[in-house]
Amino acid sequence: MLWPHKDLLCISQLTAAEILYVFQVARRFAEINTRPVKKVPTLKGKSVILFFVEPSTRTKTSFDIAGKRLSADTYSLAASSSSLRKGENLKDSALTLQAMHPDALVLRHHQSGASEFLARRLSCSVINAGDGWHAHPTQALLDGFTLSEVWGDDMAGKTVLIVGDIAHSRVARSDVLLFTALGARVRICAPRTLLPAGVRQWPVEVFSDLTEACNGVDAVVCLRLQLERQKAGLLPDLREYARTYGLGARHLSKANPGVLVMHPGPMNRGVEIDAALADAENSLILDQVSAGVATRMALLFLFLTRKDATDQGDARGDQVESPQPQSPSLQED
């Protein structure tokens, strides 16, 4: 497949074939992560700026490791150490970074649409590492990849439940788009105060009763509950939330055999998920973290090598071919 996209902003921009192609590439890169020497020269000479205006640990580390394992140079920049703190606006900060000629900018921002805003203004690739409540496409891709490792790529006939704060969750929005694109049925479950406007028009079934929602599902994605939701008046208190929407074994008794449990992290054990469930055999929570590195390696590869094709005036326009199975670029450095 040829990779046609300059930026990764939202799952809605990807076709099902493109999503599966990312999985295919990720699968090949996952193998590198198991080698004694986990580094290949694939992206040597490429530079990636990790611009995390909103704090992040796991996503930033995951991108950082992914870039370094492909020999790209990665540079981390946080809002606290950038000119944003001195009052510079996002556009000027990003244009300043672009003037240093990175090949990609990975952006985490607390405002929805921030990645799209920059993508329209920058010539380098912009990869959305989470923007406000809007989208977290790389998380959705790694979630999908994690499940595809168990189920295979065809998710038709599978039912995935997402439970928790859907209204303020970029993970939920992206997961819904991805799982439905791959043919799965998606359910969401939350108190009405944590459901987004217009959710009845989403391609999902909506539940408010967790036990009912778990009936016949094949996987459950628990979302982190931000503790400030209580202060905002959306919840009475965390104890009540945990009692009503905290996933426990009693809920899963109605799920399909082999039901899988996922969480994008960081977890509040005992709030949105029972502590024992998080560590149980059917929990994929740590697999998601591993898959995150492989998926992000795949994405960096696809977006950064795409640029080579255009730079070289490739006759195919702005598209680039995928790595071949015997690609020398995957050999250890």
């Binding site: 929005r173 406007a197 217009g198």
Partner: protein
Amino acid sequence: MPGPDLIVRNVLWQDELVSLWIEQGVVQRLAPPDEPCSEGEQLHGGGALLLPGLIDAHVHLREPGFEYKEDIASGLEAAARGGFSAVLAMANTRPVNDSAAVTSFMRDRAAEAHPFGPRLHPVGALTKGLAGQELAPLAELAEAGCVAFSNDGLPVASPDLFRRAMEYASDLGLVVIDHCEDPVLAEGASMNEGRISGLLGLKGQPVVAESMQVARDILLAEYLDLPIHLAHISCRQSVELIRWAKARGVRVSAETCPHYLLWTEEMVQGYNTLAKVNPPLRTDDDVLALRQAVREGVIDILVTDHAPHADHEKEVPMDEAPNGISGLDTALSLSWKLVREGVLSPQDLCALWSARPGALFSLPVNRFQHGDPADFILFNPDLEWTVTPETLRSKGKNTPCLGQTLPGRVVAHGITGKILFHDVDAS
């Protein structure tokens, strides 16, 4: 009987070719187009539509305090080109227009920059500093020349204070204009609450944030038997409440803007900050309701809510962007789109943009009858223009119309018989 100072020849008034005879700043009469007269200056209209000078009862001219967005000179220049002979300028300047000094400053600046008009009529703050805590000195403001009072932009949350403001303003014979928005329900919103806000992950403003305040104001107006004017109405629910109130005889009047009659929340897709406005653009159903309300007179007048901003202020992520669309340059062309779509007649336009706002705010209006102020525009509806930063006279280039081709141009503008401009080539 003295002869005319100015004859505007060959213009179309209510489907008839006429000439407008003007004497000492007022209309003398409408005459047959070729009626000979050797006196006065002659202006050839070339068959353009003759319309009264428009009144925009809701603009933000930003001076004093935010001259980089707009100043009184540039705002009135945009008004003149847009066909407006008078504008009512809101009080959210810096300092706020809550004292006679600021009111006088605004009027002086207008007279200095545009001695022959358009006229600037300040709207005084309803509360000191627009803080919603204490009444502003309304009598002082009225004496200095304010024609109405409003906390526009920062609605008064306290029903008690708002009641007292209506009562106090009534003694001065001036109307209160309310920006209907429940500040708690609307807090932090970037767009309409609904399907698209849910998908974009933006905090939305529910329609009840507006309609609850509309209901409050209507009930207060009925209880007090006092007039209230409701600003920039945006949704069906508010329209239905206003229709109900009018049927009960409540002294309520209301305005909406061309953008609420033409565009929906779809305009915000792609995080388009140029379409970020308060109240937000709503849905197709709201547009339908507003169009019907305007036709029926449930909505009394059109206004621009002209809200100019600097480019860099809109070139930010959605949540950070200020609300507002720059509207003076484009309002008449957008209104003409509604005429073309059969929503309004040219007579409706005259009523919505001139006669009714004049009546509401006690301003002189030209009905082309003997003695009326000779405020008029010549409008060529066949002339199309493309909206670019260069074609806008306002400093604010923040309009979703950028790049669009719009119908109709004002080709001449006269205020009290003095010609502000006449584009001979365009007419």
